[in-house]
Symmetry: C2
Amino acid sequence: MTVTDDWIDRIPDVGEELERSSTAERVADKLRALVIDGALAPGTRLSEEKIRQKFKVSRNTLREAFRLLGHERLLVHEFNRGVFVAKPTLADVVDLYRVRRPLELSAVRGAAHAPQAAVRAVGAAVEEGERAESRGDWWGIGTANMHFHEAIGRLSGSPRIDEVMHQLLAELRLVFHAMAAPREFHAPYLGENREIYDSLAAGAFDEAADRLAEYFDAAERQLVEAFSGGRGVTTR
Amino acid sequence: MTVTDDWIDRIPDVGEELERSSTAERVADKLRALVIDGALAPGTRLSEEKIRQKFKVSRNTLREAFRLLGHERLLVHEFNRGVFVAKPTLADVVDLYRVRRPLELSAVRGAAHAPQAAVRAVGAAVEEGERAESRGDWWGIGTANMHFHEAIGRLSGSPRIDEVMHQLLAELRLVFHAMAAPREFHAPYLGENREIYDSLAAGAFDEAADRLAEYFDAAERQLVEAFSGGRGVTTR
DNA sequence: TATTGGAGTATTGTTCAACAACTCGGCGAC
DNA sequence: GTCGCCGAGTTGTTGAACAATACTCCAATA
């Protein structure tokens, strides 16, 4: 009411930042980390009672957390039987790539409209991977690879695509746990990631997309092979 | 044991069919229908106590249902404040199309690999829309349009894409409730849907995709307009 | 020997009641 | 007109209870 009053409009929308989290969400976060890091092997049954004791929350809250992770497909809820760590099948692997392909490719092809910061984030993920390799951190290479593809998805500037990508990649980590030799999987793609990024940074979007498409073909083929040959076809 | 024992392998995988559903899921189904049909206007607050009385379930079960619908983005859960029927903003509309575009277009472009039944389902949705129009059922036209695009998504043969599409379209119904004149929105596109299908059925996949792309541009433009001009920019 | 049936146990599904933590609106002090 | 406080109402979380279902083991049977 005094002199100017429109400064309020210039404050950059703090919005959701100060979200407090519910207990269920925090429990879900912990559980998610355990699943993704492989501490809980695919197929493991999560007993309500035992987990409840570990986390010291009520059964109801725990069940809410289970629901959350179920929606992310990291856990599967079988009625009256309990929740299990998801155990991706060959069909799941193929399906994951069926979703990633159109989303990531279109993100790259339309990257002309993406902000510079988003492109740079892709580069940062590439470097993260290279650093991890130089210190022999194979799990770090995998993480960096996830970040790389997450950054690519972010090029499209869509929160919903971000979320879908995030979920898909979390599921993919499960796939790695379920397959035969996860250690050597990511390293070969470090070079390709850099090439994709270089094309991208140079504005050669279609070229980057073509390279990415090749990556998809190769990676999917390798995964399918690991599943069929490796260590028994996750019978399920 | 006796003569032949492999008949068991020939039984066509009854699998998931006989899934029993939890109470929470049934409640979620009812609520979803209410939201989609517009019985609950966007922005409405859903009091736990009142809904609980209506549905005669416990508060815990109800909260589980809320969580489910929250994940579908039909409800938004504000911590310590309650759940509200989602109120899509202009940004949401744009985002929805950002996701639909790559998914549906790639589904159509790759429809050569889709089974005939999937293509026929697209045609069935077209006819469903034409029937609805002939009897002046404008809401039915909208439903048929949803089915049309859901069928298109199904061309890609990916369960995950199916699920994403289903959610996106449910959200889109919310958009219609939030905008100015939903009645007249769908009818103009009936003709285009048929053309897209005809191209598809004729095996002209790229042509079908191009038509679909035009549809996206037009529909998004119209929706954005309805949001900006119509009845105040859903301030939020 | 292999299969079926059933009792008992463990686990999940759902409800209920209680209390803590928080939001919202109003009222009074300044 | 702003600030702070109080109280009513709602949500968040817990714990206990009971019903419904699945799992295990053992005996009966063919």
